[in-house]
């Protein structure tokens, strides 16, 4: 049953314009699609453009100084399709919180410090479902219970600074899923939390997705999060997708040297104690423009002259496993073909 994807992002690009300086191309024509009930990961280091992607989809980028290109076709409840990037602001405002929702990284700063939690949850219900007063409060308490916050009735009146980090994030999730959105974007939802709480929050998200059939876009730099949660994964580097595959595929056969490098730099419990980590040398700043060649080249052990001859094209090995590299790690013989 292959319906069309819920969200089909095609050649999304975001550039920040600055006075008297070159534009910064934060996102450079990435494409991916999301389906109901599936969890898709967007992985990369800071500065690779993954957060900007999510903000562009939600329409939360500033109006001035930003240039957005490409399309993001979203299937509405009634079956119509709209391009999120081309919608008028008012229409997008109607969709946000009801059809598309987002959970952010730092729960303390993402909550209004002077308004009680209950009100912050209820206002989503008031805005999109017309609930008021006691009805809204009642449903807000139910939502808080559903995301695992104990004693929700009391919590309604409390302020964000009175809750623990994990509970704040749960409250943010409650606000996001209040109107049962069909698409949920989570931008580093666990980065600011303790490890044990991280696991709980991820379980919560997975559970909600399974119950509601929501499509979840999980944005993170943490491959551990991705490994446990996502059905398919896109790896971003310097604004472009460099690899995209289903979970098992990606971890079994990391093709792009960057992906391989990320995996290699994670400490593993089952590795010998004195085996050294192999980090990727250099930093994100040691990049070149994609127009000049592969942006990863300065940090790559497999770099050769042709890597500087312009942007490497996206190729495909096996169905659904794309990669953008001329000298990948372990290309399976006879399985390469030209892809997107």
């Amino acid at each position: 049953m292959t319906r069309s994807p819920l969200l089909d992002v095609d050649e999304l690009s975001v550039a920040f314009t600055r006075r008297r300086r070159r534009d910064v191309q934060a996102v450079d024509r990435i494409s991916f699609s999301l389906r109901e009930g599936r969890i898709t990961g967007l992985v990369g280091e800071s500065g690779c453009g993954k957060s900007v992607t999510s903000l562009a989809l939600m329409g939360l980028l500033p109006a001035r100084g930003v240039r957005v290109g490409g399309t993001a076709r979203f299937r509405l409840g009634g079956g119509d399709e709209v391009d999120l990037l081309a919608l008028p602001a008012a229409r997008l405002r109607d969709l946000r919180g009801s059809e598309i929702a987002m959970v952010f990284q730092d729960p303390l700063s993402s909550l209004n410090p002077v308004v009680p939690i209950g009100r912050q949850v209820a206002e989503v219900l008031t805005r999109h479902r017309g609930l008021k007063g006691a009805a809204a409060r009642g449903q807000a308490a139910e939502l808080l219970a559903r995301v695992g916050i104990p004693d929700p009735g009391r919590r309604l009146r409390e302020y964000p600074h009175e809750l623990s980090g994990g509970m704040r994030q749960r409250a943010l999730i409650a606000m996001a899923v209040a109107c049962r959105p069909r698409l949920l974007i989570a931008d580093e939802p666990t980065t600011a939390l303790d490890v044990t709480i991280q696991a709980q929050i991820l379980e919560l998200l997975a559970g909600l997705v399974a119950e509601e059939g929501t499509a979840l876009l999980m944005i993170t730099h943490d491959l551990g999060v991705v490994a446990g949660l996502c059905d398919e994964i896109n790896v971003l580097y310097s604004g472009r997708t460099v690899e995209g595959a289903a979970r098992h595929e990606l971890f079994a056969a990391p093709t792009h040297p960057y992906t391989a490098g990320l995996l290699g730099s994670i400490p593993r419990l089952d590795a010998p104690r004195d085996e050294p980590l192999t980090p990727i040398r250099g930093t994100v700043d040691d990049a070149i423009g994609w127009d000049d060649g592969c942006a990863f080249a300065p940090r790559c052990d497999r770099f050769a002259e042709d890597c500087l001859g312009g942007p490497p094209p996206m190729r495909e090995r096996r169905a659904g496993h794309r990669f953008r590299c001329l000298h990948p790690t372990e290309p399976a013989p006879g399985e390469e073909s030209e892809g997107r």
Binding site: R21, D285, D286, A287, I288, G289, D292, G293, A297, P298, F303, E305, L308
Partner: protein
């Protein structure tokens, strides 16, 4: 076929071309570079520059003596006729037959003196008070914190009075005169500088580099003077610029209240403005010129101070 070395060189070129130049050349240089392009800072600096120039060159610019009542014969017989701007006297005459333009030019120097002395007094005494308090709080342990509390209580008492009234009460003790005005206005600024520097130093005191210095066993006096103090000076210097502006205005207010220099021969914009108030109906230019001069000069210092504050504020950088 290019060698590996050449490939790496080419890579390095491309990376360098992508990187932005000017990374963290120090807080002050960055701030200064930003200010150079800020229209507010440029306007302010231009105004202040002109003001300083006029104050310094003084007699070289003024066509006549500011105190000689050269045209007295014209003015005294008919008190109701005031001589406005004309070819001979660019800004006209004052009520005693003196050339306004010359008075304004020489008055710039006195006004500058008032501003500098008052703000300087406030800054020096206030920074001393605040610096000792802040250092004691940060580095002095429990005894230090007590000293800080006592000193700040004292400062709070001074702050409990609106600035003008504080200046008035000090001036009442000292009698009339320009020195009184300078001292009173300056003293009223002391609590502001004290609180500012103390606050900045305490904020620095919990920073990692201070903890590191103490852990390494550096002597507390050295930590205070060589590390904490320089990093706390930003807001204080901004305040210094702003205080120059308010000092000039407050001095004019004190003159208006009759606490200024009773000798009208030595021109100073504030005194000139205060004296000219009674002629506002018949000869507004007597008051308007010094008023405009004060407003524009104060504006110049304020613009500079505000530009400095914005350029030093880490949050406004992007």
């Amino acid at each position: 076929m290019p060698s590996r070395t050449q490939r790496i060189d080419r890579l390095a070129e491309l990376v360098a071309a992508r990187r932005e130049d000017g990374e963290g050349r120090g807080v002050w240089r960055e701030a200064f570079a930003r200010m150079r392009r800020d229209p507010m800072a440029i306007t302010g600096a231009a105004i202040v520059g002109v003001f300083l120039l006029v104050a310094v060159l003084g007699e070289l610019i003024a066509p006549y003596s500011p105190t000689a009542q050269t045209w007295g014969a014209e003015v005294f017989p008919n008190r109701n006729v005031f001589v406005g701007p004309r070819a001979e006297n660019w800004l006209g005459l004052d009520n005693l037959g003196r050339d306004q333009f010359s008075r304004m030019v020489i008055g710039a120097r006195q006004t500058l003196l008032v501003g500098v002395v008052a703000a300087g007094l406030g800054f020096t005494a206030g920074a001393l008070l605040g610096g000792v308090s802040g250092a004691a709080h940060t580095l002095g342990g429990r005894a230090g914190r007590r000293i800080d509390t006592v000193l700040m209580r004292f400062t709070d008492m001074m702050l409990a009075l609106p600035t003008l009234l504080l200046a008035v009460s000090i001036a009442a003790l000292l009698g009339q005169g320009l020195t009184t005005v300078m001292v009173a206005v300056g003293a009223a600024q002391i609590p502001i500088f004290a609180r500012l520097l103390r606050g900045a130093m305490i904020a620095q005191g919990s920073r990692d580099y201070v903890l590191a210095a103490r852990a390494l066993g550096a002597r507390r006096r050295r930590i205070a003077l060589a590390h904490i103090l320089p990093n706390s000076m930003g807001p204080v210097l901004v305040q210094l610029t702003l205080s120059l502006a308010t000092a000039i205005i407050d001095a004019a207010a004190l003159s208006y209240l009759g606490l200024g220099n009773p000798d009208p021969s030595v021109p100073e914009w504030g005194t000139m403005l205060a004296d000219a108030q009674r002629f506002l109906g018949g000869a507004p230019q007597l008051a308007v010129f010094p008023a405009l001069a004060i407003i524009v000069t104060a504006l110049g210092f304020t613009l500079m101070g505000e530009a400095m504050r914005e350029s030093l504020d880490p949050r406004l950088r992007n």
